[in-house]
């Protein structure tokens, strides 16, 4: 430990930041070193001086003027908060990303089932099947054409989904 490190330890001792055994060892060292004794005394005195020295300081402007700005800011931010959507909890955050993912998965499933070579999954679909989502936040349009063996599904979803649940099924 160099001199500077020892000085910082002395300060830690004065500030009560050292543990019992460490503090005891340092006290022994201070007893044997006049320079450290002087430093210890100086730091102890300085600590006592500053601790209670914060000046009371009156506001440089009137209390009413000061309060009015606070009140105006509170009112403005509360109005803005009411207009904005409430912060989304984790489950909603998950749904925000899960919803389009489920939608896209459904489309892929539909297209797979439409393939002539698709394995028989035991799901019978009529020619006019539709994809339906119960979430009000998501608009779904489907277009089926038997001639081209193709289904097109159009999902229109908002990024601020407020529903706590969503059900997806094939009809």
């Amino acid at each position: 430990m160099n001199r500077n490190e020892i000085e910082l330890k002395v300060q830690a001792l004065v500030d009560g930041e050292l543990t019992g055994s460490e503090a005891e060892a340092l006290r022994q060292r201070i007893n044997d070193d006049a320079g450290l004794q002087q430093l210890h005394a100086s730091l102890t005195q300085m600590r006592g001086l500053i601790a209670d020295s914060e000046l009371p300081r009156p506001l440089p402007e009137s209390g009413d003027f000061y309060w009015n700005k606070i009140a105006e800011t509170i009112e403005r931010e509360e109005s803005a908060g009411e207009r904005a959507a409430p912060p989304a909890p984790a489950s909603r955050w998950l749904l925000r990303w899960l919803t389009p993912l489920v939608g896209v998965s459904a489309v892929v499933l539909l297209l797979t089932l439409q393939q002539p070579t698709a394995p028989d999954l035991g799901i019978m679909l009529s020619g006019d099947h539709e994809l339906e989502l119960s979430s009000d936040e998501i608009d779904v349009m489907t277009y089926n054409t038997d001639d081209d063996s193709m289904s097109i599904v159009w999902l229109d979803y908002s990024m601020d989904i407020q529903k706590d649940y969503m059900e997806l099924w094939l009809d």
Binding site: N4, E7, L8, Q11, A12, D15, E17, Q38, L39, A41, S42, L43, Q45, M46, R47, L49, I50, A51, S53, E54, L55, P56, R57, P58, L59, P60, E61, G63, Y66, W67, K69, I70, A71, T73, I74, E77
Partner: protein, 202 residues
Amino acid sequence: MPAVPDYSTAEEPQLVNWAKGGDLQAFEELVSRYRDRAYARAFSIMRNEDIAVDLSQNAWVKAWQRLAQFHGEASFPTWLNRIVTNLCLDELRRRKRARTDSIEEIEEATGAVENRMEIQEVDPMERLNREELRERIDAAMAKLSDNHRTVLVLYEYEQIEYKHIAEKMGTSIGTVMSRLFYARKKMAALLGETLKRDGLIE
């Protein structure tokens, strides 16, 4: 018709409870009681009246928004002053990002200037009354760098441990110890100078 509460004579916990329930007048009474303290803390760190007023007002707004998080572990003004201090630290960080480290800041971190100072044996208590002494300490604090002054405020006024100061200032415990050491050394030197200038010591 329910009676209007007498805010001016209400106890602090009652005012806090009313404010938590959305009573802005109760909150105004709290502001009236503690605005000077909040401003004084912001000024202690920032040393600029306008900035201290702005930051202390922002702290009141944040306090209103976070009242539900106040559970009375500390007193209300102590809790409020922590918000003030945090906003001041944010402001200092924002400023620091906007400039590059000067030579003075590099010297400050290593104690290059303070290392050349002799250890001052100052006993101003013998020569000054308490108020005079506070004035001189305040004047000396104003001459410290932002980092040195902030670490002193956090340790001496807020009574925060080294490790928590390190977290707040985004630095290591070693740096906090070093800044605190050199800040005290510089304070002792500045106080010694002012006492010498006034002929109070030789």
